[in-house]
């Protein structure tokens, strides 16, 4: 069984998954949008695997009122290595497509699952950290809070909306693509 090679179609799907993972590097993975009466146009935090975009300075300026730490790329060590991890994953996926070995595929799926769960755990850890580690001397006191990874949250006069970005969807699609051979070549 172990010696049986994956079909060409499966190999192609896995190769496509590798391409999607690589492509995801260039898209935002996660974001948060803030709305308030005086910001009807919305403020954004957009997270890429290696950088932050959006109105970070303005969000930081506002967050200091509730004593939240400032967001900056230096605060997140993940930015320095995340792109290599994702690139590595894309490379491993590509190797899987070339080797066409089921055991390797199992290994890849396992790695993928663990990586994904770790990523979610890490994001949640940050959200918890920022929302609960508020400065005791902040001018405005708010109860500690943890924004959801996906969905709406209300804080003071701000309604925040967290969402997955294109990058996450690409990786999700890649995951589905590498699951298909399990069923096809069963």
């Amino acid at each position: 069984m172990a010696g049986k090679k994956l079909s060409i179609l499966s190999s192609g799907l896995i190769a496509a998954a590798a391409a999607l993972i690589a492509a995801s590097l260039f898209f935002p993975w996660w974001g948060m949008e803030f709305f308030a009466p005086q910001y009807p146009e919305g403020l954004n935090i957009i997270v890429y695997p290696d950088k932050l975009e959006g109105e970070i300075d303005i969000v930081n300026g506002l967050n200091h009122y509730i004593g939240m730490k400032g967001f900056s790329e230096e605060n997140f060590p993940e930015f320095t290595y995340l792109k290599y991890l994702i690139g590595g994953l894309a490379l491993l996926t590509m190797i899987t497509a070339i080797l066409r070995r089921k055991t390797v595929l199992y290994f890849l799926i396992g790695l993928f699952s663990i990586g994904g769960l770790l990523g979610i755990w890490d994001l949640r850890r940050w959200l918890h950290d920022f929302g609960t580690d508020l400065s005791p001397t902040a001018p405005i006191k708010v109860d500690p809070f943890v924004p959801p990874i996906i969905g709406e949250n209300t804080l003071a006069n701000f309604i925040t909306n967290s969402y997955l970005g294109t990058g996450s969807f690409l990786v999700l699609a890649a995951f589905i693509l590498i699951l298909i051979p399990l069923w096809k070549d069963r």
Binding site: E55, D57, I58, G61, L62, Y65, P139, I140
Partner: protein, 623 residues
Amino acid sequence: MKKWLPIASGLATGLLAATVFFADFSPGNPGQAVADNSKNKTNAEKVYVPFGEKDEYYLFASGGHSGQMFIYGVPSMRHIRTVPVFSPDSATGYGFDKHSKEMMGGFTWGDLHHPAFSETDGDYDGKYMFATDVGNSRAAVMNLETFTVKDIIDVPNTSGPHCAAFVTENTEYMFLPTRFAVPIGREYAPLDDYSEKYRGVMSAVTFDEKNEKLNIAYQVALPPWSYDLSDAGKKVSKDWAVMTTYNTEEATTNLEINASQADRDFIVLFNWKELEQMVKDGQYDEVTGQKMIFPEKHKGGMYLVPVAKSPHGVDVTPDGKHFIASGKLAPAMTVFSFEKAFKAIENKEFAGERNGIPIIKYESVMEKEVNPENALGPLHTQFDDQGMAYTTMFISSEIVKWDPKTGETLDRVPVQYSPGHSVAAEGDTVAPDGKYLIALNKIAKDSYLSVGPSHPESMQLIDLRGDKMEVIQSAPVNPEPHYAQMIKADKIKTITVYPKDEKDPDAVYSQEETRIERKGNEVHVYGIAMRSKFIFDAKAERPDQIEVKKGDKVFIHLTNIDFDQDITHGFAINGYDLNIEVQPGQTNTVEFTADKAGTFPIYCTNFCSALHQEMTGYFLVKP
């Protein structure tokens, strides 16, 4: 019976006389407003701009002796902003910070008369606005990305550039002729020597867009007359400009009588390309550091056109073929032809000369005289998209619409009262919009809630779209609108925050870089303002304190690091007569000598956030 007749008729006559003399026929009476309710409603709908929507036009109205420019939205006629130009304004810190204080040059006021937009191909390009100061003989330029003044220059040899500013088709020049003749360099000379020693100098001012600097290219020593209004040519007449002049009598006292004697005064017609060439060819004298053309010595490029006495406005038609002058004291508009003038110049159809400038024969250049019945005091003319002319009648308080081609009067509408200028939507460009005209009224008694003996002035919006002109809105205005310009709103592209300027040595964009440096008795503060604090030196025990010694020269460079639109901070030192503003992303400098010892709180003057009240610090001056 015979006895009763005189009594009855006497009573009737008395009653009639009483009604005629004492009854209130004023249009503002409330009974009439009720009767016109449906019309009012229609008019209200025409001018109503719901909250969240924006006006179609910007109106830039000169603020006269306030030295400011008033910005309105049209058709709502809502006052949007007052931009200080020639006068200090504590609301925006203008005249206190280093740059604006330098531009003010020690003057505390100005008389802003005529705003003029920069033009490309004879149409407004929405980049800059020029203005002149009759009070202290200056010219200014405002950047329309930020609505702030970038440069002001003194115009030497000129006293009261009333007729300016009118820019040429591609903003090559704006011309600033003088209203009050003075000797060159404003030297002393008795008025008995008026005709020999006094001059009405006209300046050709250029604008360097890259460096945002105004400059005087050359001047012309015109005869000692009063120059009133001018306009640059367009299309066929693009190299030319016209201006009216009165007091060709060269009276030196009681001008009301003495400058109103001659039946004809003049329009000065000049070819600025030719004058430019004369300067290039060295046909000028160097006086008071200026290149000065003396028409009696340096011939060419300038002509006089006789016009009905004491003319005020002169306006070039959108097609550039005609110019229309209005005699303030002679109730008629005269249409002159540029083409006829060019031919007359070519054929030398001159009727002598004054002060070395040839006078073109009136008949050779005049096309028609237009005199609407009982219309008195024609001043200024604007145009619509059909080329129709709208002239303000100062004395008969109305706007008259007429056809410059036929001279036919098409429509008239009363205004309250005494319109000086009027402004049509892009009405002095090669392509006027039609749609709206605003009468800039000098008097508005009984129109608004009373504010004492001096009433507000008024601007009335007139709808040009129907068959008949209709006054549809009226807005009170601070003293005193002179001229205005109306531009399509989408032509103006403002910025929302100042971009970072990494090359600016005074700017600091992060808290860590803030510092206070001492060089001898100079103290340089490189600070930031952000919601809701000042940081002058992040490493200090109290980052929001500045301490100096009495007599120190203090330079405070303040950068607003809130790159967020509309988050403007102010910086005032309580009791030190200082207040500057830093708009989002902007770096601004205030420079002063700490000549008072003591304790002076610093605070943010421009409301910035919930903790604005806490945005303070201390300025300590050790004795």
